[in-house]
């Protein structure tokens, strides 16, 4: 039982770390701000979620587990809103040196 939980931890945390790596690669390799944002929000939400999932079996107190989940929920909430806001600035024609193509202009607001 204990071993199974440890394996779950190792698998989930490793997967989470790989998602962080993927997000970083996306941030570095993708061509413009909005695609980078796309890569980033997916990667960090999922990466953090998997890390939290992996850590859950390792904490004994239920309150500590609640704390871990709260961190993830908070990151999800703020990540989603901030992604939305950043997309708004990336598509707005301001000083971002016109490197964002116009075809993205409508993609950020709903």
């Amino acid at each position: 039982m204990n071993l199974a939980l440890d394996i779950l931890t190792i698998v989930a945390v490793s997967l989470g770390a790989i998602f962080f790596l993927a997000g970083t690669v996306g941030l570095l390799r993708f061509p413009d701000t909005l695609t980078r944002l796309h890569a980033l929000t997916k990667a960090d939400n999922l990466g953090l979620g998997l890390v939290v999932l992996g850590l859950l079996p390792q904490v004994s107190a239920p309150l500590a587990a609640l704390g871990l989940l709260a961190v993830w929920l908070l990151a999800l909430l703020s990540g989603a809103t901030v992604g939305q806001l950043l997309a708004g600035t990336a598509s707005a024609p301001d000083q971002d040196r016109a490197e964002t193509p116009a075809r993205h202009a409508g993609a950020s607001h709903d």
Partner: protein, 109 residues
């Protein structure tokens, strides 16, 4: 297990640090902020890993604070970027000076 969790923390920190290359290259401010945002989430993950690895529960609260306020910094960034016209938006205070287009004047042309 402790060793594995510490290693994972180092790995996550290392990868998001790699993302800081985006901070160097830009080109826009939004790209730089993306790098900082990734560092924020990665930092939260690393803190959680460290907290569980060392068994110090309070570290999770640091992560909670970091998650809460990293979002706040991004909000600050976004609202700052929306006023590229410098001091003009929020000043309008010195109506003694000639040519200072006060906010009042702007509102009632």
């Amino acid at each position: 297990m402790t060793e594995f969790l510490l290693g994972a923390a180092a790995f996550v920190l290392g990868t998001v640090a790699l993302g800081l290359i985006r901070l160097l290259r830009g080109p826009g401010h939004a790209d730089r902020m993306l790098a900082a945002q990734l560092l924020g989430t990665g930092g939260v993950a690393a803190l959680l890993l460290l907290g569980v690895a060392t068994g110090v529960g309070a570290i999770v609260e640091v992560a909670l604070l970091l998650a809460l306020l990293a979002a706040f910094a991004s909000v600050a960034f976004v609202s700052g970027i929306h006023r590229p016209d410098g001091l003009g938006t929020a000043s309008g205070t010195e109506h003694a000076a000639p040519g200072s287009s006060d906010e009042n004047k702007r509102d009632t042309p």
